[in-house]
Every structure is written in C-alpha cells, then in structure tokens.
C-alpha cells in the first residue's frame, strides 16, 4: 500500500501529478482512465477473447520462474501455478524472484522432498477434465466482465459533454433526432399550436429549462454528461412539466458547461432500427406479455398520455444505448465480436435484460418524482384521491383521506344551525306583511260591508234572554278584565248590551282588578243622561281580591284593608242581580266560574269575550255554569253590522291564501326532492 501511495500519475491533458487512486485530474478534471487498465484488458475495456486468455495461461505455464522449479521434479507442475505467479511471470527475470515464491519453494523442499505435494496436485489436475478448464476460464471471464462494467459506469459518470446540444435554430440535438423519429406527431403538434402559442412554446423551452427538466427527470443522480435518450424523450413529450417549472428553480440550478458538438445519442441508435436482431430478454414485447411494466401499474394520466415514450423505450430496449455507444466509440472492437463464444453471447443477453430493467426502473422513479412534485404544488382537496408516495395500507390511506377532509373543512361550519336566518325568509315575511296591510287598509278605505244577516247564536240568544228579564232597579255587576289590544273587539260587543241595560233602568256597577281597565272602561260607561253616577272601582289583588269580597266575612276586630277600599266591602255580591264578565281572557272567565261563582250559586253569570275565547268558554255555557255569552260574530239584530267587518273578511281571506301557499310550496319541495332522488338513482 505504501508503494501505491507513493506512486503518482501524470495527467495526459495538463501534466498534473495525481495520486494513483484518483479518478480525475485534480487540475483539469480529465478522467484518468489508465486506472482501470488491467493486465490482459485493453484500456477501452474490451474484453479479451478466449484465445487471449488461453494464451495468458499458457504464458504463465511457460514462466521461467515456475519452470526452474518444475523441471527438476516434474514437467507438469507448471500448469498448477500459473495464476499465482502471474505478476512475477511477466517480469521474466529470475533475479527478481519474489519472497513468497522463495518461501513456497523452501516449504516444498522441506515438507515434500520426494515431490509428493506436486504429485498430489498433478494427480488432481489429471482427474480434472479438460472441461474444468473452461469453467475456470468462464469464472475468470465473469470477473473480468464485472470489472469492465464497473469501469464503464465510472467512465460514463465522469464523461464530459463534448458537443453542443443546441443547433443554430435553438433546437437541441436530441430533440431534433426525436422529431426525425416522429415526423407525424410533430406535424400534429404544430397544427394544434397557434402562432402565439408557438411563439410561447419556443420561448418557454430554453436551454436552462431543458436542463432543469432533465434534472427533474433523472432526479438526484442528474449529471449533465449523463443525459440519456430516455429522459429526453420523456421531457419532450411532456410540455406540461416544463411549464410547471418556475423561473426561480431554473435560476437556482447550477449551469453546466455544454461542450460543442456533443450529443448523448448514439448515431446508429435510431437511424436504422435493426429488426434482424433476435428477440432479447429485454424486449418490451416479452415484458408486456409476461409481466406488468411499471408504467401500467401506476395508471397515471401523464403516463397514459405518452404512448410515444413507451415506443421509444421499446426501441431503446431493442438497441441498448450502452452497448451501441460502446460500439460507436470503439468500432475496431466490432471485428472481435465474431470471436465471442456462445457463453459470452448469453452474458450479453443477461446484460441486456439488466439494462432493460434498469431503464424501466429509472423511468418509474422519474415519474414518481414528477408526481411528488406535482402533489407538492397542488393544494390538498377532498375531491382528489390521496396518492401515496410510499406503499400504504388501505387503512392508512383512508386515515390520510379523513385527515385531508378535516383539514379541508377547517374553518367551515359543519353542524347546521337550527334557526338559521336567511334573507329569503325575511323577504317572504315582508311580502306577507305588505299584503296583509294592503288588504286591511283597502278594506277600511272602502268602508263597512253589507249586513252579514247572521242568525243569533245560542249563547248570544241566552245572554239576550237573561238581560231582557232584568227590571229597573236591579244591579248588574260588570267585571272588566281586558287589555288595550282587544279593546276594540270587546267594546264593539259590550257597548250595545250595556246601553240596552241602561235603557232598561238597570243599575250598572263597574269593577276591575286590572289598572289598565280604569281608563279603557271609560268607553263602556253609559251616558250620564240616565242620572246614575257611574265609576269604575279598583279591586286590588286580582282574583284573590274578588275571593276576599265574596267568600270572606269581616272579622270581629273590624274591616280589612281590602274592604275599606271597596264600597260595601264583603257585600259586593249580596245586592247584585247578575254578574257580567267582560274579558278577553278565557282563563279569567274560567277562574271566576270555578272560584267565585260557587259562593253564590243562585247568581247568574254572563260573559262577553273575543272570538278567540269562544271555544274555551263554550263548555261552561253547555254545563250551565255560564248563562250566556257573546263572542266573535254572535249574529242577530244589532250584532251583525260591525265597523271592521270588511277588514275582518279580507284578513280571513289572506290567511286562507297563505295557508294554501304553504301547502303548495311544500308539495313543490317534495316533488323536487323526488326528482333529485330519481336523478341520483
């Protein structure tokens, strides 16, 4: 090793002294190919012929160093030591006998002076047939072949570009060759492109972009001097890939110096496809039939859109570039190919298979790298499938899809709001309000309608009968319990009844537990022309106050505060002939009938209420607890004509129309849903 380290090599290009193990010149970068020059192997890596190997072996056998020893003992021992004394045998100088050979000779003399050791080896050699020698030669050839392949790879990696890629039109050499191979495809492409697009196309395909494209196709193993036809074909048929390149990427990449008149495509690769060659194991036809090629497994859209690329791969497989390149660089070796044995042709076929597999693998890796770059550029979405870069299980892929969906839905509302306000509902409500207002206003402007001429209802008839029986001097207790909102409806019903009672000479006593009725009841008070002083008394405590004045009695120690407020105190109902409840609340009527009336069962009770309360009051009329009542449109003379009759009718009609519209819209929505269901089905 020390001797090797001390040795230096002179660069044939610049004369720089380099170490023996240097692959390139440290000064000019020239490849020092002499490193891979072996004995019995040419500098260009040409494999020795079997005849030459046999000659080497024969020369080893004829080595003087070996023959000196074997001549004294046996003339056949030279055949057993040719390889070991290979280096020394070439010297041909007995004075330069190595130490190890001397030690072997001494050992041979000591251990086997009778020559048994040599005889044993000789006997073994005799037993070995002549065919074994061919096996040795084959093994030796394999070693040499392996070394040659390794040296060839190293040389390809370090090879510099010697020609220019671009011609005078700016079209690369490899692209021109591809266009020559595919004239029809090129014409179609030109027909599709318009003038502006064509200009853009020329502008986009610059040298830097092409270099970047090649780099992306090859991946990390990119070397400007290692451009293959395969990558060039792929990039030429994928203009989208070049479009995806950003200027920053192209600028950030190192710019390689491309020597003039360089092309990496062998001259004889595609000019004349050799169809006369026998089908090799690497033939794509066999690949298509026997095994699935990698590009068909991926099923990528880019791959499917590149049938020409697949054809080029087939051509490449039929004419491996490495061997053809080798042949083009060293044409003189073609003369020696005829001397190859059948074994060597099999090795070549194996190499073709290996190269075919390597090409396919390289293409698959480049496509996967391209897919990864596209994925990194495109944002994730719920629609696109998660194409794994790695081999993923289905469960893992599903989880990745779920995670993608979650990320996509981030920031969006997924749970529907129960009462979501939309502008459409507000608009519809506004239209309804305007419609209702218009109808009511128009009806009020037109004035009251004709007399309804309705027959008198049974509760109204009972009320009319009860009031008609009252005589002058009878006291009617009028209990007010209604609100301002319903005052117009209540007063329209109660006013005629109270006026009739006043005309009959009936004494009216107004009481209320609602403060609001103190000023609302003013409309119900009869005129003072009858001579009775009418006022509204306030009874505090609501229903409890009525209960106190009706059910309770004054204690022995005096009047209670409630009694003092109300005249006659607990004798409120004692002098009363009839109780008339004017209320818009059916609950108040019910409470009166259930809590107050039982304390005076012989006292009849009448009620005037709104139409809304009619249904709830009616059962008490049918049970006899209520002697009669007026509600809604009771009918009969004096009750049919009302000021807001037409507005009432218009409102009823609008309500009916709206209800029918609601049914229609629901039916339409159901029909739409059914149609969608049919369409989906």
């Amino acid at each position: 090793m020390s001797e090797l380290a001390d040795q230096l090599r002179t660069c044939p290009n610049c004369g720089q002294q380099n170490a023996m193990h240097s692959l390139k010149c440290i000064r000019c970068g020239e490849v020092l190919e002499d490193l891979f020059v072996f004995d019995d192997i040419d500098a260009d890596g040409q494999e020795p012929t079997p005849e030459s190997i046999s000659g080497v072996l024969a020369s080893l056998n004829e080595n003087d160093l070996l023959t000196d020893q074997t001549e004294t003992e046996s003339s056949d021992t030279t055949e057993s030591q040719p390889i070991e004394g290979d280096e020394e045998g070439r010297s041909g100088d007995a004075s330069q006998t190595p130490d190890w050979l001397e030690r072997v000779r001494e050992r041979t003399r000591k251990e086997d002076p009778s020559g048994e050791m040599v005889k044993g080896g000789q006997a073994m050699d005799k037993r070995r047939a002549a065919g074994e020698r061919s096996q040795v030669d084959q093994a030796f050839d394999e070693v040499i072949q392996r070394i040659r392949e390794q040296s060839e790879k190293e040389r390809k990696k370090t090879r510099k570009m010697e020609t220019n890629l671009v011609d005078e039109d700016g079209v690369p050499e490899w692209l021109r060759r591809i266009r020559e191979l595919h004239p029809a495809h090129e014409q179609d492409a030109k027909q599709v492109l318009t003038g502006s697009q064509d200009e853009n196309f020329d502008d986009e395909w610059t040298d830097e972009e092409l270099q970047e494209l090649l780099r992306r196709e090859i991946g990390d193993e990119y070397n400007p001097g290692e451009q293959t036809v395969f990558t060039n074909l792929t990039s030429s048929n994928n203009p989208e890939i070049a479009e995806d390149q950003s200027e920053e990427e192209s600028e950030s990449l190192p710019k390689y110096e491309i020597p003039r008149d360089f092309h990496n495509i062998p001259d004889d690769d595609f000019d004349e496809p050799d169809n006369t060659k026998p089908t090799k194991p690497g033939n794509p036809e066999l690949l298509d039939k026997n095994e699935d090629p990698p590009e068909t497994d991926n099923e990528g859209p880019d791959i499917e859109a590149e049938p020409e690329t697949g054809m080029e791969v087939q051509n490449l497989l039929e004419t491996p570039p490495d061997f053809e390149d080798e042949e083009s660089e060293q044409p003189e070796e073609e003369e020696n190919e005829e001397k190859f044995s059948i074994t060597e042709s099999d090795q070549i076929e194996n190499e073709l298979e290996e190269h075919a597999d390597e090409l396919l693998l390289e293409r698959e890796e480049s496509e996967q790298a391209e897919d990864r770059e596209k994925k990194s550029l495109k944002p994730l979405s719920t629609e696109e499938q998660v194409v794994p870069d790695l081999l993923l299980l289905r469960d893992q892929r599903d989880r990745a899809q779920v995670l993608t969906n979650i990320i996509e839905q981030e920031g969006h509302r997924t749970i529907p709001v129960l009462h979501e306000k939309n502008r459409q509902s507000k608009l519809g409500r506004l239209i309804l309000a305007l419609l209702l207002l218009a109808g009511v206003i128009i009806s009020l402007v037109l004035g009251p309608g004709e007399d309804l001429n309705l027959p008198l209802s049974q509760p109204a008839g009972a009320l009319q009968e009860k009031t008609a029986k009252l005589q002058t001097g009878d006291v009617v207790l009028v209990v007010l319990d209604y609100q301002a909102a319903t005052s117009s409806e209540i007063e329209e019903l109660a006013k005629p009844v109270l006026d009739a009672l006043s005309h009959q000479g009936v004494s009216l006593r107004f009481v209320t537990s609602q403060p609001v009725d103190l000023w609302l009841g003013e409309e119900l008070l009869p005129s003072n022309d009858t001579g009775f002083a009418v006022k509204i008394e306030f009874i505090p405590g609501g229903l409890l106050g009525y209960l106190t004045l009706t059910a309770g009695s004054s204690p022995d120690w005096g009047m209670t505060p409630i009694e003092r407020v109300v005249s006659d105190g607990t004798k409120l109902l004692d002098e009363t002939s009839l109780v008339m409840i004017i209320s818009d609340s059916p609950d108040f009527v019910r409470n009166w009938l259930e809590q107050i009336s039982p304390w005076h069962p012989d006292l009849p009770t009448l009620a005037i209420s709104t139409s809304l309360s009619e249904a709830l009051i009616l059962p008490y009329f049918e049970s006899g607890q209520l002697s009669g009542f007026l509600a809604g449109h009771p009918g009969g003379e004096g009750q049919n004509q009302q000021a807001n009759q037409r507005a009432w009718q218009v409102g009823m009609l609008i309500m009916m129309v709206v209800l029918i519209l609601g049914m229609i819209t629901k039916a339409e929505a159901d029909a739409a849903v059914k149609d969608e269901g049919h369409n989906h089905a």
Binding site: L432, A484, A485, T570, L616, H633, M652, G662
Partner: protein, 203 residues
C-alpha cells in the same frame, strides 16, 4: 334547613287555606284575613319587581349597554306616568285618556304582528313538520273555520246549512274541553307538589 322552613310554611298555609274554604262559614273571617295578607304581600312584591325593573334599566343606561336607548325610553315613560298619576290622581279623566291614547295603538300593533307571525307559521308548518296527520288536519280545519267565519254562507236562509255549520262550529268544544281538563289536572298536580315540597326537593 332553610329550604325546609319555606316548604313547611307554604304547605301549612295552603292546607289552612283549603280548610278555610271547606269549613265555611266558620272560617270565613279567618279566610278574609289570610287573603288580605296575600294581597298585601302581592302588592309589595309588585313594588319590588317595579323597583328592580327601574334599577336594572338605570344600570343599563349608566353602563351604556347595547340597546340602552330602549331603557331610556322606558324610564322616561315610567317617570312621566308615575309623576302625573301622583299629581293628577288615578281618577283624572284627562290623565286616563292620555294613557289610553298611547297604550291602545301600541298593543293593537303588537296584535297585528301576532297575526303576521301566525301567517308565517302557517306557511312554515308544512315545510318544517312535513306531511303528517297533525299538520294536514290543522290545515284543513283552519281553512274550514276561516271560511265559515267569513260570513259568506247564507246560513240564515237555509236551515239545513245552519244546522251543519252550527255542528261544525261546535267541534272546537271537544278540543276546548280537553284543554280545560288538562289544565285542571296540571293545576292540581302543581299545587300538590308545592304543598308537599316536591318542587324544592327536585330542584
């Protein structure tokens, strides 16, 4: 223990009140006194509620809470009503008419809005609830009674039609009786729960 004291007091008062109602006229004077207590307490609670309402809106105005302008309107109306009521008395005709002129339009407008909401609900009931027995029966009955209440049918001239319409208009009594029975049962149960203190224990 404090909760139990309130429950005990309420329960005893309720039982005594029921006894006073049942044992008339012996307990009539006692009933009068108890009811006066209840009315006075109710009036005091009403004053407390009014005070709380006024203080709350004053706080809203002081803090500048969102919508404090409404609080300002309320305080102004309350103060004006209270001051004029104290000065002029609750029996003053002008004072009563003044309040009436404000209150009646306001509450009538609210009732009109209620009608509008009911119209909107009539549209939405089918869209929200879908087609069911309840919604279909509701729609048909509403249409029927709206049409009957229009007064377009000559029921006064046709006795047969009058009987039919009267029969149809008595149908709501069925539902009304159910409502009344349900309300009565609910009131009895609520009263019993209060008397036996189950409301507090459950809470």
């Amino acid at each position: 223990m404090k909760d139990r004291q309130a429950v005990v007091i309420a329960s005893v008062s309720g039982i005594l009140f029921l006894a006073a109602l049942f044992f008339q006229p012996i307990t009539s004077s006692y009933l009068n006194v108890v009811l006066n207590w209840a009315i006075v307490l109710t009036a005091i609670t009403l004053l407390v509620a009014i005070s709380n309402l006024v203080i709350t809106h004053l706080r809203y105005i002081a803090v500048g809470r969102r919508g404090f302008l409404f609080s300002l309107v309320f305080i102004t109306a309350f103060a004006a009503t209270f001051v004029f009521g104290i000065l002029r008395g609750s029996d003053d005709i002008q004072y009563l008419r003044w309040i009436k002129a404000i209150q009646v339009p306001l509450e009538s407008a609210l009732l009109g809005l209620l009608a509008l909401v009911m119209m909107s609900a009539a549209i939405k009931i089918f869209r929200v609830r879908g087609w069911s027995i309840l919604t279909v029966s509701f729609g048909l009955s509403a249409l029927l009674f709206l049409f009957l209440n229009l007064g377009f049918l000559p029921i006064a001239q046709n006795s047969t039609l009058f009987v039919v319409v009267s029969t149809l208009q008595r149908l709501p009594v069925v539902g009304a009786r159910g409502l009344l029975i349900g309300a009565a049962l609910g009131a009895v149960i609520a009263a019993l729960r209060v008397l036996f203190g189950q409301v507090v224990e459950n809470e």
